[in-house]
Symmetry: C2
Subunit: 316 residues, 2 copies
């Protein structure tokens, strides 16, 4: 099976939402990504934590088959983020960011990591993302994410990175800011001209868009009337997306990429149903596939010739 | 073929968007609805205009096969609305509303109108909507829309109406206000408990939701990087939706309702590509079906067993 290398943050998050709160919960982009992707393919996690990182968190990741040999421990404190969400659970308000040991993170890949066919460069400094990529031995698929901070501070390094990337994941607001365009469609147009053959724009509760070539494909969100904590939704989306592709070993087919969008949607939907990583730690693959098929059923539109075969009456 | 009766406003709109502006353009909910629905089924329009209503507008409607025998002319001025849209083209800011002759609108249906099997009660006073409905001879399908003004001023009359309606169309913000719930899923839950077996929530550029029984079906918007004028999008959506259902004569099948959502999406997408009704006056049905199939292709996700049959490579 094709493995996935992910390089990104492992953090302790303090989060408040209208449904409750959590202090120093397991978080970080690489964490969410790994926990989602591991249902589909072997995952190698590269990151750094401080000496205060609770050993049970490392155990949690390792026991779920995630290769944590690249998760180093540095002297100092683990990266901490705290934020809160308003009523609509859309955008987080960051209350505090303490990079701590993450500030000096300089990922060095060992031989086993360099050979991974799929690599996800989660949102770290784009210069570091490029350095990681330079250490890889011709991966079949390179994907990355970023965030507002890097769009503001290192746009040129980010563009340079994008010229070497196959798939770019971004949320709507960040894509518009990066491309200096007023809507996600125009933004994806500009960003794809910089390099990525696939641009994925995540719109939270409004679903996601994927641009391949000159065509946009649209995906709704899985309908959940109650969301507990949206933290990590984007990274679990990417985890389900790339995990599915790695499990197939097919990276250039529109049909596979559409299914990857649906798996990303499903993994993100599980994640937001509880705080921190709680709800994605112990799913089973059958449950994931059940929601996947549920999603496909809800968003499918029958062709005319299939209408009478599958009559389904509206309940009275 | 099953005909559709629509009762609502016929107006002259003055609209400003980032793409330009128009003064006293043909508008109104019944106008947009009729022009969209007439591609699918015969339409009977009931409304009122003033003596200043340009004859060419009536001719435009009549020449397109819309039965305007119920469009009366009253002494006074035609209903006028003016509004402007910000950069994101999402929500209109109303600059002025002059009800004029519409203020005294008391629709009286003649015998041909009463027999229509499908009726759309566009957003007029909910008491009037109920009065119109009371004049109908057991229609097979009753649908309605509303707006903020009636939600604020006559919520009880609106609830009373909803208990007699099969399909309720609403935009997201209005549904949340009416149901006093923070998101469209919870709002649809509450509204469906009042009566409608189908609740459709329109989310503009983010697509639309349909609740049938306890299940939500999600639909994306057709991707358009440039929108000229969103006025009338909701009513053209309803026109495509109900027009398609009337053309099939099937009102209680989930598959048909999903296709109706897609036709609604397509008609709204044509409408927003130009000011006023310009872009929906002279479409042809082949062009509509072409975009319908384009939409279905963009939102379809292949089943695993179909993946290898239909390989489509990502363009380099």
């Amino acid at each position: 099976m094709n493995s996935i290398l992910v390089v990104g943050s492992v953090a302790l998050d303090t989060v408040k939402t209208s449904a409750g709160s959590i202090s120093d919960g397991l978080g970080g982009s690489a964490t969410y990504f790994s926990l989602a992707a591991r249902y589909f393919a072997p995952v190698q996690l590269v990151g750094v934590v401080g000496s205060d990182f609770p050993p049970q968190h490392r155990t949690l990741l390792s026991e779920r088959g995630i290769d944590c040999s690249g998760l180093t421990t540095a002297k100092g404190k683990t990266f901490r983020w705290s934020g809160k969400y308003g009523k609509d659970a859309g955008v987080a308000k960051t209350l505090a960011t303490h990079l701590n040991v993450f500030k000096d993170f300089k990922p060095k890949l060992d031989e086993a990591h360099r050979k991974a066919p799929v690599v996800f460069l989660a949102n770290i400094d784009p210069e570091l993302q490029s350095e990681v990529l330079a250490q890889m031995r011709s991966p079949a698929l390179v994907a990355c994410d970023t965030m507002n901070f890097w769009i503001d501070s290192k746009p040129e390094a980010l563009k340079e990175l994008l010229s070497k990337v196959d798939i770019f994941f971004s949320n709507e607001e960040e894509a518009e800011k990066l491309a200096k365009r007023p809507n996600p469609l125009q933004a994806a147009e500009v960003i794809s001209s910089w390099g990525p053959s696939v641009v994925v724009i995540k719109k939270g509760e409004h679903g996601a868009l994927m641009k391949i070539g000159s065509t946009f494909y649209m995906f709704p969100c899985f309908p959940l009337p109650d969301i507990k904590d949206p933290t990590g939704a984007g990274d679990t989306f990417a985890g389900g997306f790339l995990g599915y592709l790695a499990s197939c070993g097919v990276y250039d087919d529109v049909g596979h990429l559409k299914r990857a969008m649906a798996y990303g949607t499903v993994m993100a939907s599980f994640n937001v149903e509880d705080f921190s990583t709680k709800n994605i730690e112990d799913l089973d693959r059958d449950g994931i596939d059940e929601r996947f098929h549920d999603l496909l059923d809800r968003m499918s539109v029958p062709r005319a010739e299939d209408l009478l075969k599958a009559r389904r009456a509206v309940p009275a």
